[in-house]
Structure formats: C-alpha cells, structure tokens
Symmetry: C2
Subunit: 240 residues, 2 copies
C-alpha cells in the first residue's frame, strides 16, 4: 500500500495487504522456421516492440494486464490475440515470475507457453510491431523476459515429451525423420537416426500407423501422437 | 479498478488495470506418517484452521498475502513459517491458481509445494490451529484448496522422480525397501519388490553405495540420491 499510505482514506474498507502488486500475463510461443538455404530449422518466438515506458523500444513477450473478471487462462489467450493475432490450440501455464525488481512497479507475471504449427503461424495476421526471433539468439529484451525465454526453452528441451512436441509442432501424422528434424531444431544439434528411432519406440508415446510415405528415400512409416499420453501429462487441471 | 471507479482521483497517476487483484501464496507440504498399528505409511499435509471470514472455521493451506517488497519464494517461506513453524529445505513453485470465483474478492494464489522428512516435522513447534491430515481423505477445505491439493498429489505421483522423492522424504541414505515403502504411501498401493528394484536401477537416478544394512532380513544395499539429477530437474531457475 506504499503508494496510497499518505492519502486520506475515503475509499470503502479494502484489504490492506497484497494489493500494491499488479498481475500480468505473458506468453512464450515456440514454432519452427526454416530459412531459405539453411540446412536445418530453428525455433522462433514472436516478440512485440514496446511503445511506452518502461523499456520503450525494446522487444518484449506478448502479454498484458489480468482483468479482474477473467481467469488466468482467459487473460493469456486474450492478450496474445490482441497483441499478435495468434490463437494456439495449446496454451499452458509455465511459471509465475515475481522478483521484486523485475519492473519499476511491482508486477507478478503469470507466464504461459504454447507450441504452434507452421500452418497456424501463417493463418495469423502480420502485425507491424510484431517480429519473429530465433529463440537461441535474442537481443536484450524488456524486463526479465530473456530469463523467462531461457526457462521456457529449458522446459521445451527437457520436459516436453515426444507426444507433446509432435502434437504442438507437427501435423497430425508424421514420419520419424520429420520428428527428428523438430528435435534437432529444439536441441540445436544433430541426432543419430538409429538412436532416435529406438528412444521414440521405447517411449510408448507415439502410435505407429500401417501407412507409409514414399518419396526420394525408402518408404517411411507414418506415426501419430498418443492423445492419452498428452492428456495424462497435463493432469487434473485439464477441463476440456 | 471496480472498487475505486466512482471516487475522485486524488491519487498520483497510477496504473488503471491489473491492480484490483491481490496476490497470495499458499503451500502444500507433504510428509509421511505411520499411525500406530497401520500396516503402511500415509501421505499427510498440515492445514491451518481459518479464524476469520471467508470460510471461518474451515481448514486451509498455510499461506498469506504477498508483501510488495518480497519475492514469491520469500513470501512462501515466510507465510509458511508464520502459520506452521515449518521451514522445508525444498520449497518449489507449483502453479498459479486464478479462477475468478475462487474467493469473494479477486485473489491469485501462487502455490508452492514441499516435501518434508519426518525429523523436520518433529523439529517444528506444534501450533494450536495447525493439524495434519491424510492427503487422500481431506474434509471440505476453504476456497479451492481441495483442488489445489489434488493437483499437488497428482504432481507428486506422476512427476516427482525417484531422486526427488528419496531426497525429500527419506534420510540421506536408504535401502530400496525403504524407498519402496515411500512410493507405496504416495501411490496408495502395494508395489512388486522385484519390478520396483528394476525400475529404480534402470532410472539411473539413484547411486548405489558399497554399504549394506543388516537386520532381521538379508543384508540390503544402501543407496543415496543423485544430486546432479535433482538439480538438473529444477532447471535454470535454481540459484543456490
């Protein structure tokens, strides 16, 4: 209550603690991009250029204030749509960032993260002050947003299972070569195809179909993600 | 800003959104208890009886308001110490709960969770309005705290690895039979000893020592948890 402590109290009785802090939501959205001539895809995220202080002119994660009448999930989806036009089908809470000095005023940010398939990105309007950046080589961002992206990247690399990543970043059906390319982009390094195949098959998180894709190489079996794993992974908070 | 919208604006320029919401912290603390005559241990949590509205008289998770000058982690440790006298060595953020109707006024609760060894519990003062409850059969709690405990239990059962659970609930060194007893309490069912041994050994998350414990059974190898796994699991936010 620091900022109102010296003013006459003409307001109705109000709680005297916990309300000098504002709540915001921000979202880290990962997708894959393959630049012309690049030999592999990279993980990119959309950022929004700030048009006011603090940190005017710096790039920041899309987000905004929590409205008193909306849930955290709703606020994440709304602010994301307002700032970027994106509407990812999976938008999950990642972590609450609340260091005292992370903003000039006291702000707790509830951070969400999402995975987007390339076709979902294309569907979104292009916005003038929105730009996509390689998540592995960002400029200095506003507030503690570099730290937030680092944490989200770590979760993507270490915690997201095969089924989750396949569902979020690939089409409904895919070959193991396509899935491996996604993992190579996420991890930023090449993977041995035989080892990768073994790990995926042992994980039980992907379902092999009886279909094969043919092309310049020998026919490759088509897989799909396992929705049971996906839902189990998200636990009892899922209410779809 | 609903509650101040009709009042003359005599305050210094202040943000006009995000500040009608208050931020609280709450903590779910798991430990094991073996009741006299019980054939296995159960998972218990401490609850605090509310002495004021809303929900006066109901049991609630220990917690309190976030102070404007403290971090979320600090607030969790402080409110836990103030309400229960407990000071767990591992206290981690679990999830932010922010449904609009979860409290009569708008409150976002940042929930932490912790594991406590029995000797840490004994060290804490007994408080008059604090009581330990079996996590699997709770009464109706204040606010959405039943839902919060259910989520924390799901995380404990599904996400916490062997190393984390061993470190949080057992002494520094333990036999596989002791670890299995902990898992049986967490899962609420018997586990096959041979299968359990195989899974633990394959996980690579525990380190066998060259020491054995003897007693009424045949000598049992002593294990310790793998601190590297523990720290890797918590990712880049760890700053100890």
């Amino acid at each position: 209550m620091t900022r109102t402590a010296t003013l006459p109290d003409i307001r109705p009785a109000a709680p005297t603690a916990g309300d000098a802090t504002r709540v915001a939501v921000s979202t880290v959205i990962f997708t894959l991009r393959r630049d012309r001539g690049a030999d592999r895809a990279s993980v990119v995220i959309p950022l929004v250029r700030r048009t006011r202080d603090p940190h005017e002119g710096l790039w920041a994660l899309p987000g905004g204030w929590l409205d008193v009448a909306e849930s955290l999930d709703t606020a994440a989806a709304r602010t994301l749509a307002e700032t970027t036009g994106l509407a990812p089908s999976f938008l999950e809470q990642l972590y609450a960032f609340g260091a005292v000095e992370r903003s000039p005023s006291r702000v707790v940010s509830i951070v969400y993260w999402a995975l987007l398939r390339s076709d979902e990105v294309i569907a979104a309007d292009a916005r003038e002050n929105v730009q996509w950046f390689d998540a592995a080589s960002l400029p200095r961002l506003a507030f503690d947003h570099n730290e937030i992206v680092d944490y989200a990247l770590w979760r993507l690399r270490n915690k997201a299972g095969y089924s989750r990543i396949a569902h979020g970043l690939l089409a409904d059906e895919f070959t193991l070569a396509q899935l491996r390319e996604v993992y190579e982009a996420v991890l930023g390094r090449r993977l041995d195809p035989a080892n990768f195949r073994r790990q995926v098959e042992n994980s039980g998180n992907l379902i092999p179909t009886e279909r094969f894709r043919t092309g310049s190489h020998r026919p490759a079996r088509v897989y799909r993600y396992n929705q049971d794993v996906e839902l189990a992974d998200r636990g009892p908070l899922v209410r779809h």
